[in-house]
């Protein structure tokens, strides 16, 4: 198991993880995302999709409806992406694939369901510490 430390802040209270994405040119791009224990899937701005490598055969396009809000649907691209998690202490996970939604959004969310299935999430807000443990 490898332990990836999270960046914890109390105002606002949140935990951030740094994700590496394989770019189309073979190098790796760093992106930060807020850990969201309630989200099943990671959700990121579609700008990122323009520079990273992903499998078009495993890509689909969805329209997400917002109940009760007229003309508020939004389109997302769902695809499988190779990522690594890394922390400031030099810990880095093995590359692994995870499904991600890309859309016209300003949020950068790391959906935990996929990661939790693979490992352990530990958050200690008072001491500003936290980590994800992955195989």
């Amino acid at each position: 198991m490898i332990r990836i430390s999270l960046q914890i802040t109390q105002n606002p209270p949140q935990a951030e993880v740094i994700i590496r994405f394989l770019r189309k040119d073979g190098s790796w791009l760093f992106v930060t995302a807020t850990v969201d224990t309630g989200a099943e899937i990671t959700f990121l701005p579609e700008d990122i999709l323009n520079v990273i490598d992903y499998n078009t055969a495993q890509t689909s396009y969805l329209t997400v409806e917002r109940a009760g809000i007229r003309n508020a649907d939004y389109k997302v691209t769902e695809t499988i992406v190779t990522v690594q998690l890394e922390d400031a202490f030099g810990n880095i996970s093995q590359p692994f694939e995870m499904p991600i939604w890309f859309g016209q959004t300003k949020v950068q969310l790391f959906g935990m369901t996929n990661a939790i299935q693979r490992g352990v999430l530990h958050l200690d807000m008072p001491s500003l510490s936290g980590y994800i443990e992955l195989p």
Binding site: Q7, T9, P12, Q14, E16, I18, R23, D25, G26, S27, W28, L29, F30, V31, T32, D36, G38, A39, E40, I41, F43, P45, D47, I48, N50, V51, V64, E65, R66, A67, E86, D87, A88, G90, I92, T105, K106, V107, Q108, L109, G111
Partner: protein, 96 residues
């Protein structure tokens, strides 16, 4: 040829990466006040570029490079007013 290298080799982590992400997080309020919600390119705790899109921010950073010939490895971040986005986060969750 651009001196900006937004990608790094497998296993490589330039020393500025984590300190620059931390600097953005610590100065988010001031950065929001100065630039508004935007994509931002930061290198060694200095803002090199801003833009509405990732590419606009990178292009803007090309105009503000530090002196010298060496390649630089800035970080990219979307800065946003987190409180305004809480409602949006909830809506996204509802659909997942």
């Amino acid at each position: 040829m651009s001196r900006i290298r937004m990608g790094v080799k497998y296993g490589e982590t330039p020393p500025n990466v984590f300190s620059d992400f931390a600097w953005i997080r610590e100065h988010e309020t001031e950065l929001l006040a100065q630039y508004g919600e935007c994509n931002i390119i930061v290198y060694q705790q200095k803002v090199l570029g801003v833009g509405h899109t990732y590419q606009e921010a990178v292009d803007n950073a090309e105009q503000n490079l530090p002196t010298g010939d060496e390649e630089i490895t800035p970080v990219h971040q979307w800065i946003k007013n987190r409180k305004q986005h809480i409602g949006m986060l909830r809506k996204i969750r509802e659909h997942q």
